[in-house]
């Protein structure tokens, strides 16, 4: 691999990593507040892509209007999921985990029945606009992923750190009972978190689907990587998740670029195991001592 190929592979990795980050942020936010891993998060990603497909292809809507509507649709879906699959089982040790797996399988099969197994292509005006920039060749569609991720990450940071709503979420995340004693409505915090997670995952749905295609299992692989990133970054730690996502994306791109494409997943999970051995509390997380 020469120097220019190396730089191109880093760019490719940042694009893949940004997609992972956008999916993983929702997973880590929900874990941060509810201490559950939402295995159905990938299915919101998938249903968002189907919604985008129907709005663009059948509804003939503008791509950006579609993106806004898909964000709203995914946010609503995430809230419904919280209400149906998580609220009643909160507090049971394995209950939410099992219901999230059940919801994931249910939604995959529902999509298979409703939309059929045939993949569908989501058209956009940006896929055929190819930019040649030195050694870099990419479509505008692909190039949109990195700035979109940056804008959303910044927006999320401001929302969590600088707003009353964000303080409410952080308070519930730190201690549910104390936060409620201080007048915070924890249920409202949970609902807002699911709204944010749903809206966030809608963005890769709309951006990535045109590069590939839309099909019922499209959420499975992406979310598997998202869980890896969440563990590497530290459960509930958004900064760690962002860093881990980009590191994993670049590592995968390098491995594939060296011709060892089959080793991509093995390397991802080797990195994960290494993190679990060396920094089990995450990339920039802090060691948590259990109370006696």
């Amino acid at each position: 691999m020469d120097a220019s190929q190396f730089v191109v592979q880093v760019f490719n990795g940042l694009v893949i990593g940004s997609t992972y980050v956008l999916v993983a942020l929702g997973v880590t936010l929900i874990y941060g507040i509810l201490r559950i891993i939402n295995f159905a998060h990938g299915e919101i990603f998938m249903l968002g892509a189907y919604l985008a497909y129907f709005l663009v292809v059948r509804g003939h809507l503008n791509y950006w209007v579609t993106a806004g509507l898909v964000m709203m649709g995914c946010a609503i879906l995430a809230v419904v999921l919280e209400r149906v699959a998580f609220r009643r089982v909160r507090g049971f040790e394995l209950g939410p985990l099992i219901t999230s797996i059940g919801a994931s399988i249910f939604l995959q099969n529902l999509a298979l029945i409703l939309f059929g197994g045939d993949p569908r292509s989501l058209p956009t005006p940006y896929l055929e606009r190819i930019v040649h920039l030195g050694p870099f060749v990419f479509s505008i569609q692909r190039a949109l992923i990195i700035p979109s991720a940056l804008v959303l990450i910044l927006g999320l940071y401001l929302l969590i750190e600088r707003t009353t709503m964000g303080r409410m979420i952080r308070a519930v995340s730190q201690d549910w009972e104390v936060a409620s004693l201080m007048g915070v409505n924890p249920i409202a915090a949970v609902v807002v978190t699911f709204v944010i997670a749903g809206a966030l995952v809608a963005v890769p749905s709309v951006l990535v689907a045109p590069l590939f295609y839309v099909f019922p299992l499209m959420g499975v692989t992406t979310t598997l990587k998202a869980y890896t990133i969440v563990v590497m970054g530290g459960f509930g730690n958004t900064t760690g998740t962002i860093m881990a996502g980009l590191i994993l994306g670049v590592a995968e791109s390098m491995v594939a670029g060296l011709g060892a494409s089959l080793w991509v997943d093995a390397v991802s999970f080797l990195v994960l195991i290494a993190f679990l051995l060396v920094r089990p509390y995450g990339l920039i997380g802090e060691r948590r001592e259990e109370n006696a």
């Binding site: 691999m1 020469d2 190929q5 191109v8 592979q9 490719n12 990795g13 694009v15 893949i16 997609t19 995959q108 099969n109 298979l112 059929g116 197994g117 045939d118 993949p119 569908r120 292509s121 058209p123 896929l127 055929e128 190819i130 040649h132 060749v137 990419f138 479509s139 692909r142 590069l211 590939f212 295609y213 099909f215 019922p216 299992l217 692989t221 992406t222 990587k225 995968e252 791109s253 390098m254 594939a256 670029g257 060296l258 011709g259 494409s261 089959l262 991509v264 997943d265």
Partner: protein, 397 residues
């Protein structure tokens, strides 16, 4: 203690009647004068990455069974029994075991993925249940010789040897990158192409094994771009291939791509868009074919499914189900009768060409079995119809 009340008794009776209605009489225990029931087991992928093709198989089976039941005219009743074999060995073995031991099927038609078919094949042989394979290409499905396994399409060596001959003898291309998914069928296809291309004087610049679940092939494509081949040979399932070709197009790699039978027309073109331009592949059926048997199938399929255009998956599965059904009608409904009937098949006229099996249960390859197409302007151009495309001379058989 449970007390037996009148309402319990009524409930038991209703449940018993419902169970009997649902299950009917056991296979092969039809009463005197009742038509013999022939259960056709369909181990097909109904979930996972092959689900879309599994759904196609179901449609084709519906049409084939409708035709068979008409042909049987009340003497036999053909009943489909589906099981989700998931396009992978473990799921396929479970589905096969269920169909053979629990459902007691007379014959099986399936699977799609070679690894899954290999898992069912031995099970079928051990239990003496004929298995007709409509769509798996790995050589060892028939190469080992199993009297109960029959394949109706050319195997991977036949397919990819033919493709290499077209690439070199017709297009005069010399340097290739060969990329394939790391599965029985993928590896077999890639190696077959490489062997024949080398034999004909071609050069393989790179050989890349791929993971079909990879979310993005751009890094691999960047590597291929660096190798600068004259053409590519690609073997992967439809879904990942679409991602791969879109990445090639986006990276500006406008080289001819040769693939085998795995991409339906026109779905592949619709999904891949401009990235499919110039793509060359072989099929065993295309809906625009002028062959009378193929044309009749196309017309009947469209009439049955509201104008839907059939593709090779439909045609191959339809041909396989019709073949086993007609063998049952001619030779008898038992497993051994059907096996004998299928083995004796000679020049059976199907939508995918004439079918005759060799001693290993492999369909005999003829130039008529293979159609070569190239995508131009989003449409399939049949190379066989092009002036200068002398198929017999190019293929050498």
């Amino acid at each position: 203690m449970i007390r037996w009340s009148r309402s319990n008794g009524a409930l038991f009776t209703v449940l018993a009647l419902a169970w009997m209605a649902a299950h009917g009489s056991p296979a092969g225990a039809a009463g005197a004068g009742a038509p013999a029931e022939v259960k056709i087991g369909l181990p097909i992928p109904l979930s996972g990455s092959g689900a879309s093709i599994g759904q196609r198989f179901q449609k084709a089976a519906t049409l084939a069974l409708e035709d068979l039941n008409k042909m049987a005219a009340g003497k036999m009743v053909f009943v489909p029994v589906s099981a989700d074999s998931q396009c992978e060995p473990k799921g396929a073995a479970t589905a096969g075991r269920k169909l053979i031991l629990q459902d007691q099927v007379n014959v099986m038609v399936g699977e799609l993925c070679s690894s899954a078919t290999l898992a069912i094949k031995d099970l079928a042989g051990q239990n003496k249940v004929p298995l007709v394979v409509p769509d798996s290409s790995a050589l060892n499905i028939t190469e080992q010789g199993n009297p109960y396994t029959f394949r109706i399409i050319p195997h991977e060596v036949q397919q990819h040897t033919a493709l290499a001959r077209v690439a070199i003898n017709y297009y005069h291309l010399k340097t290739f990158v060969v990329a394939y998914e790391q599965t029985d069928a993928g590896v077999g296809a890639g190696k077959s192409f490489i062997n024949e291309a080398k034999r004909l004087g071609g050069e393989i610049l790179d050989e890349i094994a791929l993971h079909r679940d990879s979310p993005d092939f751009t890094p691999v494509v960047t590597k291929i771009k660096g190798a600068n081949p004259a053409a590519l040979h690609l073997t992967m399932l439809l879904d990942p291939s679409v991602r791969f070709l879109k990445a090639l197009h986006e990276q500006g790699v406008a080289k001819p791509v040769f693939s085998s039978i795995w991409y339906a027309y026109p779905l592949f073109e619709q999904l891949t868009g401009p990235a499919s331009e110039g793509h060359i592949r072989q099929l065993f059926y295309i809906s625009s074919s002028k062959d009378p048997v193929a044309a009749e199938f196309t017309q009947r399929f469209k009439a049955k499914f509201a104008g839907e255009e059939p593709d090779f998956n439909h045609a191959q599965f339809y041909a396989a189900v019709r073949l086993v059904g007609e063998a049952a009608l001619k030779y008898g409904p038992s497993r051994e009768d059907i096996r004998r009937g299928v083995a004796a098949t000679k020049d059976y006229q199907s939508a995918i060409g004439p079918l005759t099996f060799d001693a290993k249960g492999q369909v005999r390859l003829t130039p008529q079995s293979i159609i070569f197409i190239q995508t131009k302007g989003g449409k399939a151009v049949i190379l066989d119809d092009e002036p200068g495309f002398d198929k017999k001379k190019i293929l050498g058989f």
